[in-house]
């Protein structure tokens, strides 16, 4: 419709009870890149991320105005079909939450609810996405053990595989390495760098170094306001706004 990119935000306001969590955000999120949303905690990063797939619906006391277009469709339109919108995006949460079932069933969960029944195809899907998230070699002999038995780092990669298995175009990641040890974090970051060829990855992070390592494009939020956004080099090396400068130099956090 009015935008070329997958996600386009227009005048988005989010109110939480009496507080305004997001103030008049307008931005086109570029495709096939890693976009880092940075900013101090409590500045609305997660709220912005969760409005992309309408997970904020389930928060009580929330009110939204404005539009978010995903592939040209305003997802806050009452007629929008929320399950189909969510299927377009895989989500990685702050700490991994595998579903209470086996490793295999976790990856197969999405494809199954979207109608894939064939056992052979499911086997293929599970193997493919576990390889995509570089977990396959570690779990191929115990696909039917409960997902809660593997390590936290492995669980996060499982969650990545689970998200990829619904064939999204976008990956939403909310501080995906905050619960992980350095080695596991590195694995996730590497997967992202590999996956950005095929997916648009939006990552919320408060680790500036992580943003530097990963991001092609940076969005800086402060107290619910969009201060500055642009290519990573510009924002991180050479910010225009005073606020961004102060944040990047560690004056404010």
């Amino acid at each position: 419709m009015e935008s070329q990119t997958h996600i386009s935000v227009q005048n988005l306001n989010v109110f939480y009870r009496n507080q305004q969590a997001l103030k008049n955000i307008t931005i086109d999120i570029p495709d096939k890149k890693i976009i880092a949303i940075i900013g101090p905690s409590g500045c609305g990063k997660t709220t912005l991320l969760k409005s992309f797939n309408r997970l904020i619906d389930s928060v009580d006391g929330i009110r939204v105005s404005g539009k978010v277009f995903v592939d040209g469709e305003n997802i806050f339109d009452p007629k929008a079909e929320v399950t189909r919108i969510r299927k377009k995006m895989g989500l990685l949460a702050q700490s991994p939450y595998p579903l209470p079932m086996s490793i295999y069933d976790n990856v197969a969960y999405g494809p199954r609810i979207h109608g894939l029944k064939d056992k052979k195809k499911l086997d293929g899907v599970v193997e493919h996405y576990l390889k995509e998230s570089s977990l396959w070699d570690e779990v191929k002999d115990r696909l039917h053990t409960p997902a809660s038995r593997i390590s936290v780092g492995q669980q996060q990669r499982l969650c990545l595989a689970r998200g990829l298995a619904v064939e999204p175009e976008i990956i939403l990641a909310d501080e995906p390495t905050s619960a992980l040890d350095p080695k596991s974090s590195q694995r996730i970051e590497r997967s992202f760098l590999r996956l950005k060829e095929e997916y648009t990855i939006i990552i919320v992070t408060h680790i500036l170094r992580q943003a530097k390592r990963l991001a092609d494009y940076v969005v800086f939020l402060y107290c619910g306001e969009l201060i500055e956004h642009g290519p990573a080099e510009d924002i991180l090396e050479n910010p225009k706004e005073e606020m961004t400068k102060e944040y990047i130099n560690g004056v404010i956090s």
Partner: protein, 283 residues
């Protein structure tokens, strides 16, 4: 010794005594039932229906009541699950968080929990009259299911509330509907707790006398129809204890022993099952 140390030891003593009271009451109840019931216990008690005229006979057994109780409790539990599972899923997955209907439903359940079982019996009886039912197994099942409903629902509610909301979000983010999330994720995560809730309710249902006295009635025969009266163990105990014959009174303790054993088996089964279904649960 200073004041804080005295406080500390005083409370320790209090806690030990309280724990001891709990444990000893269990032991004493079991001992009473075993000591008084065992002499009257024999194979006939659990393999035969009562003989000797009136249902308080000194011969035969209480098989009618055993079977009646098991049928009745099982039927009531199934009926109660059919209602309580949708209620708890509504409260925890569908209803808007913090909405008035949630608070009101939980409050109602707490009130219902406190309603004496004789009232459920009387209420069940009124319903039966309305539908033209006589005292029957079906009537008992309805009354007992009403009795256990709040217990089961609240117990399930407590465990389902503990399911982390991130788990729901994970399912939603994959494009699952609320129903798919409720049945495939929430129920699975809470399964051990749900089983415990069901078995607690079963234990409560099978042991209750007041709710079945008008509704299920009593019978000397093994129930063969939902529309016929059925004997239950608590009522058998009640009637047996009420006779002037010491031999029959002893049989009451034997019946109580059987009932206790059934509840014991249920408790152990619930432990075993809970452990079995904990394997998939995400911490």
């Amino acid at each position: 010794m200073d004041k804080r140390k005295i406080e500390e030891s005083l409370f320790k003593v209090l806690m030990v005594i309280s724990t001891f009271i709990i444990l000893s009451s269990l032991v004493l109840i079991l001992a009473t039932v075993i000591i008084k019931g065992l002499p009257a216990m024999n194979l006939a008690m659990i393999t035969q229906t009562p003989k000797g005229g009136f249902y308080l006979g000194k011969e035969g057994g209480v098989l009618n009541a055993i079977v009646g109780s098991v049928y009745l409790a099982t039927g009531a539990i199934f009926l109660a699950i059919l209602i309580s599972l949708p209620v708890v899923l509504y409260l925890n997955v569908y209803a808007k968080k913090g909405s008035r209907i949630i608070t009101f439903t939980r409050f109602s359940l707490d009130v219902l929990w406190g309603v004496p079982s004789i009232v459920y019996g009387a209420f069940g009886f009124t319903i039966m009259l309305f539908f033209g039912l006589r005292a029957s197994l079906l009537g008992g099942i309805i009354a007992v299911s009403l009795l256990v409903l709040p217990i089961m629902t609240r117990a399930m509610d407590e465990v389902i509330r503990m399911v982390p909301k991130e788990l729901l979000e994970a399912s939603y983010s994959l494009g699952a509907t609320k129903l798919e999330t409720a049945l495939k994720v929430v129920v699975r995560q809470a399964l051990p707790g749900i089983l415990t809730a069901v078995l607690i309710a079963f234990g409560r249902g099978i042991g209750d006398a007041a709710s079945v006295i008008f509704t299920a009635g009593f019978s000397d025969f093994i129930p063969y129809s939902l529309l016929r009266p059925a004997a239950t163990l608590p009522l058998a105990i009640f009637f047996q204890l009420g006779t002037p014959f010491p031999e029959v009174q002893d049989r009451a303790y034997a019946s109580a022993f059987i009932l206790t054993i059934i509840i014991l088996i249920i408790s152990i089964a619930s432990r075993v099952l809970t452990r079995k279904y904990t394997r998939n649960v995400v911490k």
